[in-house]
């Protein structure tokens, strides 16, 4: 679908000529001329402006009444004044009105210090109030949900949270009840506001009316530091800003990236982290001694692990979990392939695909971006459930349907494997395109489980056939977007953590066993040592495999029952906020993890542990720092050649787009 391509116009604001995209809202256009127009209700992420708070009133030449800058599209030649007496009086009066019923309890309010109402009051308010009457009162604070507290006295009724619930997450739970000065935000029947994205309203709230119960009274803004990283709790890899106090994570905020998360977070990403850093973590190396895991020194644990690995040699099988970075994956594959001569390493749960299919699916011109989901004519949701598999994509799909009329078509592997229904599906998708021959822009959002099981390879081929029928490779804004089963599934594949491919999906001299094969071989005694890097395997097959294995070595953040029973050596592993390195988004974007929190207890960085282990089995990997581990990755994967951590930065880099840019 055509995306907006605004032309540049010139308008005048406060006596200065400024260039801005035509039809940008005045408040946004004003910023280009370094003019700030204060707002409360305006938030472009929430869709069309509502003009409720009236904070952004400005004077426009030729229009008698003051206009709301949030809802006035800028036009060529427009003359805007934000500093006239009339505008100042209006701004002061709106602040005065807003504070009439606001308790001004800033000293005990969590928002104090990072509060738009405070800032705007200082910047544009009258400085004193003439209101001497009794303020409005509500019982407070109340639990709006198990995660969110609501203080209705602080609420300035900007409608942001209600609009989020009604128009973004579309859970339709939050409403305004009553009328006038008695209005208040609530759920219709007073039930708790429980929804997959509820936490976003805390961040949207421009005052301290909605606060996180987890974060309440934990810190003031001057106690904390912000650290940017990426959430690796699911493949969506939302960009986050971590609130850090005393090297601990207290809060997770969204870090807007329109190509990744659109500025939203799911509740799991937002509320899980503080708990991941807490009780129950493995904080020191453990060694099985007398049938039980007991804390030991690093020296002992590493020596024991190295001895056992050397003994097992090529009879070792390794599984890499989805939270591992590319660097960790590459390092472990080097230990396996170069140090132990074992080709048995895998990062996919369901077993691998033939190498040519892996390569075909990774073709650069077949890759759709996240924003393509929004503007496509149709999105085929194939064998995945976005809200479960990569929650934030659910919001992007809703946005596409609501704002751009995108058609959502769900299907499963069965629809693709049957020739006739596959043809019908293709016809249905093609029909969503324009009447002329331009072709439909179709994005196939597919789950890794499509390619699992005995029909996996056939399903992958059917998917490629569909892509070629619809000519997705040559259609702009169309393509495939895979949701891997694990957070960094794509990155680990690119780093060569596959039994049949090395870095950059290069062919290997000898193929190894895939995850299913490793489990079987361990169970039958063909392999003797299992190496689990942040991987927790369940199921009967693995129960038997770990039972039979002579040695089980694991890197873990938490002990599971299986590890408690079968692991021989457990290295404490870092949670994502403690990691540094790179991961790859489902659409191919390399993103950078930056350490924000301290490792708990004796915990060390994985690259450090792996490098030391490599040394002890006689392999010098030449890595003394996280940056060196990354450099080795960039050198190993052909498509990453020349990349630097600086270039990846906070926004990430798509190597396949970079190649084009470098070439041209």
């Amino acid at each position: 679908m055509p995306r907006p391509e605004p032309k540049t116009i010139t308008f005048t604001i406060d006596g200065r000529e400024v260039q801005a995209p035509e039809n940008a809202m005045l408040v946004d256009a004003a910023k280009l001329g370094d003019v700030e127009i204060p707002v409360f209700c305006y938030e472009p992420k929430l869709g069309n402006p509502v003009g409720a708070c009236r904070m952004c009133l400005v004077e426009i030449e030729g229009i008698p009444k003051l206009q709301t800058g949030c809802s006035t599209p800028v036009k060529d030649g427009m003359v805007v004044n934000t500093e006239s007496e009339r505008v100042k009086t209006a701004q002061q009066s709106v602040v005065e009105f807003l504070l009439i019923n606001h308790p001004l309890d800033c000293p005990v309010c969590d928002k104090g210090g990072e509060c738009p109402l405070q800032d705007i009051t200082f910047g544009w308010g009258p400085g004193k109030t003439r209101f001497v009457e009794e303020k409005r009162h509500f019982v407070k604070p109340l639990e709006l949900s198990p995660e969110i507290a609501i203080d209705r006295e602080r609420c300035i009724l900007c409608y942001r949270c209600v609009r989020f619930s009604q128009e973004i997450s579309e859970d339709y739970q939050l409403v305004l009840l009553e009328r006038g000065a008695h209005s208040y935000v609530s759920t219709f029947d007073g039930h708790p506001y429980v929804a997959p994205f509820s936490g976003n309203i805390v961040e949207l709230c421009p005052v301290g009316a909605l606060t996180s119960r987890e974060y309440r009274f934990r810190a003031r803004p001057w106690d904390i530091e912000d650290a940017g990283s990426v959430c690796t709790l699911c493949p969506a890899q939302c960009n986050v800003t971590l609130t850090v106090r005393d090297e601990r994570i207290l809060r997770v905020l969204a870090r807007d990236h329109s190509e990744v998360d659109d500025g939203w977070l799911c509740d799991r990403g937002r509320f899980a982290y503080p708990r991941l850093g807490g009780e129950g973590r493995v904080t020191e190396p453990l060694l099985r001694d007398g049938g039980e895991l007991r804390p030991v020194s690093w020296e002992r644990a590493l020596e024991e692990a190295a001895t056992r690995l050397k003994r097992a040699g090529a009879a070792t099988g390794a599984i890499v979990g989805g939270g591992a970075t590319n660097e960790e994956g590459l390092l472990l594959s080097r230990i396996m392939r170069e140090g132990l001569d074992s080709p048995h390493i895998d990062s996919r749960v369901a077993g691998t695909l033939p190498l040519e299919l892996h390569r075909a699916l990774a073709e650069p011109n077949l890759q759709a971006s996240v924003s393509d989901l929004e503007f496509a004519h149709a999105v085929l949701v194939l064998d995945c459930n976005p809200i479960e598999d990569a929650a934030i994509l659910d919001l992007r799909l809703r946005k596409g349907v609501r704002r751009h009329g995108m058609k959502l078509v769900p299907a499963t592997a069965a629809d693709l494997l049957d020739e006739r229904s596959a043809q019908e599906l293709a016809a249905k998708l093609r029909a969503t395109g324009p009447a002329d021959d331009a072709g439909a822009e179709v994005v196939v959002l597919w789950g890794e489980r499509l390619t699992a099981g005995p029909d996996g390879a056939r399903a992958a081929q059917a998917l490629l056939d569909l892509a070629s029928t619809l000519n997705l490779a040559d259609t702009k804004g169309a393509g495939l977007l895979e949701i891997p089963a694990r957070a960094n599934g794509r990155g680990l594949r690119e780093a060569g953590v596959l039994p049949n491919a090395g870095p950059g999906l290069s062919a290997l001299a000898e193929d190894g066993l895939d995850a299913i094969g490793i489990a079987r071989a361990l169970g039958e005694g063909e392999l003797s040592c299992a190496y689990l890097l942040g991987a927790d395997r369940a199921g009967e097959e693995w129960e038997r495999a770990l039972e039979r294995a002579t040695t089980v070595i694991s890197h873990a953040t938490f002990l599971t029952d299986a590890l408690r029973e079968h692991a021989d050596v457990v290295f404490p592993a870092g949670a994502y906020a403690e990691k540094e390195g790179t991961i790859v988004h489902p659409d191919g974007r390399i993103q950078r993890l930056r350490q924000a929190a301290a490792h708990p207890g004796e915990c060390r960085a994985e690259w450090q542990v792996l490098a030391e282990l490599a040394r002890r089995i006689g392999l010098d990997v030449e890595i003394q720092s996280g940056a060196m581990a990354s450099q080795q990755l960039f050198d190993a994967v052909p498509r990453y050649a020349g990349l630097t951590l600086e270039e990846i930065g906070g926004r990430g880099v798509k190597p396949h787009e970079r190649e084009v840019a470098v070439a041209s």
Partner: protein, 437 residues
Amino acid sequence: MSDILLFKDIDEPGLATLEVYAKRGGYESLRKALEMTPEEVLAQLESSGLRGRGGAGFAMGKKVSFLPKGSIDKYLVCNADESEPGTFKDRELMQKSPHMLIEGIVIASYAAGASRSFIYIRGEYVRQADMLDAALAEATQAGYIGEDILKSGHSLSLVVHRGAGAYICGEETGLLDSLEGKRGNPRLKPPFPANQGLYQGPTLINNVETLATVPAIIAMGGEQYAKLGTDTSKGTKLVSVSGHVQRPGNYEIELGTPSREIIYGLAGGPPEGRQVKCWFPGGSSAPVLTAGDLDLPYDFDSMAKAGSMLGSGAIIVVDDSTPILDVALKVAKFYRHESCGKCTPCREGTNWTVKMLERIDNGTATPMDIEIMASVQEHIIGNCLCVLGDAMAMPIGSMIAKFRDEFETHIEQARARNDLAPAEPEPALAGGVSAHA
């Protein structure tokens, strides 16, 4: 000189039935209109100079012409949420002559190219809604509503929708939201309803009286209609006169009739021995005028020139037996209660104004509060999302401007009452003897 067009037969027994209405020439205008092209009907509406009778006074023909042309689905909505205090003309019209409204709607929909129409009637008008339903059934039966009306090719559905009781649902965009099943809050304009109204489709919204005038315009011709009234306020107007008058009620007058003639002539003026203190010329949201303005012609422009507005044509007369503070408090409380709460100046300003007026009344205010109150009204006017805030601020502002002395006296008297009160809860004024005496 009164009851010229709409009210000509208004008290005819049984006019609400199709039989009597038809006998009186009902639906003849519709036949005539359907023989013309929609453009010709629109031309008649434009040449009539009819201005909207709901309050804003916007030229009806022009409003129709704003709707996009073409085969796109269009809507017509009749605003029957008559909620402006003092206004009760639409009620009588719908109750006594529902077919006149229906006929007007069909003709207007033909001119506008609308195929779906709604009457949004306030929930309290139970009887009138029932009567509209009955009339609608008759009209449908007779083929005036439905597919291919009178074999003209024009089709129209009509639904009578009852509101749930909110003044704000009379604001056109609030009405549309309410009609769509949402909370009745005003929308940001633009887009205007003519482009994006009901269900985002082009929508013509008109008041009951406006639409009910359409059959008369078609019957007599737009130019003939335009001969009634003044240059800029053409035709007749239903006026609801209430308050301190001896004969309150609805009167149909030619626009431009001297206000004194309406208030004293038709409505009989205040009771014996009392004088007009002030009057609202266009419902409670119009700035008040005083006895000195009684000789102004009653039309859109004269009222605007006097600093007020004709509004919905509801004249509320206040005589000298009522303190101005009581009037102000009544008005302010109404708008505080009805503010939807969406935009800041209206939500907080109406609430604050009531609190200040209450303090004036209970003797805890100072003359400085009058300044604050006046400035609060100024801060509301023109700064709100819709006109509800202005609807309180304008009359309150006008009362402060015109009766400042009385407000000051009220403050002083109320304060004196308080100062005289004994510290112990001894009713100070009951015995007429105070502790200080």
